[in-house]
């Protein structure tokens, strides 16, 4: 007995020490490579982010997702695969930032140039991400890095209709310390003429300030502490429509703080985060008077996400989040909500070609009940240049504070919106010498129910109820080509197309503001390292503006041209000129709210 025990312990010890060693080796080679998943993504890097102003512009150029814009500079809401704006989840460094009041993000208020990467994940993934990830999710991310020295980037911008902006970004990193700060400002009188009409876009001026600060400290190879802070302050006058004047205005002030401890011993990765984020708006019915209505939410969040790499083929994730939110507003009494979520995920790499993931999430909220949520996704790569992905999931979207508590009309008995999604896609990527090609195509189907709609009640008040059901299906495809000719000429092409059918199940009619066809394309040409020319195309299809299809917006094709020329010996200064809507096309993305005519933007960048 004693001998067996000793032998057993010896074997165990040997095994352990052997696995330690081999795992150490593995660690150096594998660096905890995350097992691939079956979701299609679009990853947008900082060279694109630095050249744009808002998240709306970024996504309109590099994806086929459609947006509703209430005029330039005004509210911009996303319609991903024909779903509602609250059914696309947006995350800032992992923290969900869709408003707790109306469930959405105004994509014109997100200034993208500070972030290192913006990732768009297509399709339903509430099990992995949480509430609202039905049409897709957008991730705004700062990548912490060490040992890269200092980098400064400055930009000044001037454009039509009294538009001015400046940006400054500074980052410094040593082997264990990282800091990045950015301050930017943009303002515009925005009073462009409405092509074909006698009036212009009056009462549409806006400005915004963004300040961001990231700090990180790494005190050994397994531990680092990261801090992120973000402040936004902006105001916009709510522009007039073609037929109705406006004097109203909205002010927004948001702040976010995130502190994260990253612990990465041998085959474990644990992220413990604590965050505080606040949103606050004021709505002035008339900018000439001091009276306003307001809403504000304070959120406190604690989250932990634990990943255990059993080996290179098996990975287990488990996590929980706890969020406490307090709301107050002109029409909302002081209320609060606590929400705890547990999630887990199993990732299995069967062999070098196939991997699959299974996810489960349970959310427990003080305001409503959420069913168990599941997802399954799989990736199969039969060859190095070709792959197939598929996923299916159940998803949810939680009711907002406005839905539950607005007085009068709020409905405390609301349920979560539910959606079932399924998707299959394939991709092709290959390099033929100086030509690289990437093509991706996906087919999707979304079935939603219990959608929240505000309806008139017997009493005469309007209340939200879980009433609608919609059915979505379609195809998205994208193509990316890079070609370098004789080391002097660089050509790049990116094209995206989507075909989307989204119907109300009761009427079988296409939902309002969902175009059937969307197309966007960017073509880039650069000669040596000098002049860079880009042409952007967007095709906006016909859209119905009323549920019974008795009124619609006509389609339009809009083209922008951009020229960028670097000067100086080490090319630190770049002068850019961008002509938007070069053919002066009249187009709108919302009923009675035309978009700008031909206008220009000049920028000077200085990087060192």
């Amino acid at each position: 007995m004693k001998r067996i025990t000793t032998t057993a312990i010896a074997i165990l010890f040997l095994t352990l020490s052997y696995s330690q060693d081999s795992l150490q080796n593995l660690k150096e080679v594998m660096l905890y490579k995350k097992i691939k998943d079956g979701y299609t993504k679009v990853i947008i890097g900082d060279s694109v982010l630095n050249a744009t102003n808002t998240l709306t512009e970024v996504l309109q150029q590099y994806t086929a997702i459609s947006f509703k814009e209430y005029g330039k500079g005004q509210l911009s809401s996303i319609a991903f695969r024909g779903t509602s704006a609250a059914q696309t989840a947006v995350y800032w460094n992992g923290v969900p930032i869709n408003s707790m009041l109306n469930g959405q993000t105004n994509f014109n208020t997100i200034a993208t140039n500070f972030f290192d990467v913006v990732t768009v994940e297509n399709g339903g993934n509430s099990a992995g991400q949480g509430s609202g990830a039905i049409g897709g999710s957008v991730f705004l991310k700062d990548n912490i890095h060490f040992g890269k020295g200092s980098e400064t980037s400055l930009q000044a911008q001037i454009g039509s209709y009294d538009s001015y902006g400046f940006r400054s970004k500074y980052s410094y990193s040593s082997k264990d310390f990282y800091i990045k700060a950015g301050l930017q400002h943009y303002q515009s009188r925005n009073d462009y003429p409405f092509i074909g009409f006698d009036v212009k876009h009056e009462n549409a001026a806006y400005y915004n300030w963004n300040f961001n600060l990231n700090v990180a400290y790494k005190w050994n190879s397994a531990n680092s502490l990261e801090g992120f802070a973000h402040f936004f302050d902006g105001a916009n006058e709510n522009g007039r429509t073609l037929y109705v004047q406006s004097v109203s205005a909205t002010e927004d002030a948001n702040s976010r703080f995130l502190l994260r401890w990253l612990w990465e011993p041998n085959n474990i990765r644990n992220k413990l985060s604590t965050a505080y984020f606040k949103e606050h708006y004021k709505y002035y019915m008339s900018k000439y008077f001091d009276t306003y209505s307001f809403g504000e939410v304070d959120n406190y969040r604690l989250e932990d996400s634990f990943t255990y790499f059993l080996n290179s083929a098996l990975q287990l994730d488990a996590g929980f989040s706890f969020q406490y939110s307090e709301v107050e507003g002109s029409n909302i009494p002081e209320q609060n909500r606590t929400q705890t979520e547990f999630h887990t995920r199993l990732s299995h790499k069967i062999n070098n070609r196939i991997a699959y993931n299974v996810q489960w999430r349970k959310a427990i909220s003080s305001d409503f009940s959420v069913p168990h949520i599941f997802s399954f996704d799989i990736q199969y790569e039969p060859a190095a240049f070709y792959g197939i992905k598929a996923n299916t999931a159940t998803n949810f979207r939680q009711p907002t504070f406005n839905d539950l508590y607005w007085a009068p009309g709020g409905n405390l008995d609301l349920n979560v919106e539910k959606a079932w999604t399924i998707e299959a896609s394939h991709y092709f990527k290959k390099k033929f010498g100086a030509l690289s090609l990437f093509a991706q195509q996906s087919f999707f189907h979304i079935d939603t129910e219990d959608l929240i709609q505000w309806q008139p009640m017997d009493s005469g008040n309007w209340s939200p109820i879980n009433i609608a059901k919609t059915n979505h299906y379609g195809m998205e495809c994208s193509l990316k080509v890079d070609y370098v000719y004789k080391s002097k000429h660089l050509f790049q092409l990116q094209a995206n197309y989507a075909y989307t059918i989204a119907e109300d199940e009761e009427t079988d009619l296409q939902l309002i503001y969902v175009p059937k066809h969307t197309f966007s394309s960017v073509v880039n040409y650069r000669f040596k390292k000098k002049l860079n020319t880009s042409i952007y195309w967007n095709y906006y299809d016909d859209m119905f503006t009323i549920a019974d299809h008795t009124d619609a917006i006509n389609s339009a094709m809009v083209m922008d041209v951009k020229l960028a020329y670097p000067i100086g010996i080490k090319k630190p200064i770049t002068i850019g000129l961008r002509i938007n809507n070069i053919w002066n096309t009249a187009y709108l993305l919302y009923d009675d709210r035309p978009m700008p005519d031909r206008n220009i933007q000049c920028t000077i960048n200085y990087n060192f």
């Binding site: 509703k68 509602s84 909205t250 009276t291 209505s293 002081e334 939902l511 549920a547």
Partner: protein
Amino acid sequence: MMIDQCQIEIYNVQSTIIFKIMKQIKLLTYLLTLTFFIGCTDDDDTLPVVPTPDPVIPTPDPDPLGEYQNGLLLLNEGNFLSANSSVSFLSDEDQLTNGIFTTVNSSVLGDVAQSIGFTTTDAYICVNNSAKVEVVNRYTFESLATITEGINSPRYFIEANDLGYISDWGDPNDAADDFVAVINLETREVASTIAVNEGPERLLVVDNKLFVSHKGGYDLNGPGSSVSVIDLTTNTVTSIATMENPDDLVLDVSGNVWVLTEGSTIYDIDWNVIGSNPGSLTKINATTNAVEETIEMPNDAQPSHLVLNNDTLYFNIGTDLYATTTSVTSNDAATILDAPIISFNNSIYGFNIVDSRLFVMETNFTSNATMLEYSIADLTSNPISRTVGVGASKIYKNE
């Protein structure tokens, strides 16, 4: 995406304001009925016989003054900020034509058409959120003038003694600038203004007096609670205190003015509902300006619209329609809501009774609304259903 996307997204902020305003803008006018009464007193012998609803199609007038004579004009408010208000016409031969203003004039009527008022030749359409009043020939619907000077948030129009009067909230964010505009009917322009309390709404003329109900507009001073009486010879204003949110005004055959006060919901400081103020039927003696009866609604009920048809007062509370006679007194208050004469299936935005036909407009701002027609003599038989415009609210007789 549903209405929540386009409306509630406007950031829910604006849309929620929209809902508040919609709640405040209770539509129903029986101005047509009133005009008919006035017409009766002046031109008794030349007035054609009112056609009664029967299966025989009446002979059309051989010499019509325009395509839109001999029928009913239906006003559709449209959706707030969508500028899709419109006017529909239902002829005596039962032909329904939608969008007649745009068809005749090739232009947009505007945002939130609140009401139509008539003179013998003209129709004045108050387009509340477009800050204008469109004046058209009431039979051909050709545009005669667009009044923008001196008009801000027009509500209702009435003709009295060869002048026109329009109730106007001014800048609705300013409680002190509300007025009644005096219109020169020949030049179709604002001649002068009479300052009144916040939120002037319905207008009713009795001899040389103009009664104006004050619902309160944006309620900056709280809900309205008075009816103004303007002496049209001197343009002086006196005020009669009523219960909260007085709206519809009707004149009965005995010369009494009936006011429907809609009541209101009471919130505490935290927006919790702690009670309601009930609505009422208030009877005012038009000669003495004295409040003679106040029939308070039981159970804090809040009525929405009032129509007078002969001697019967019809009013609705939500989807229930009630009737009582003009001899009702406050002693009858306890039993007045005992039995609705009909209950509708869907929320209604307005109703009116013209020639024994009860027209009911179902609430719909997101697409074309449904108008139901019942016979007031037999409310049990199935109604005729017609699809009209977005935000259908009021129906007037035009002849």
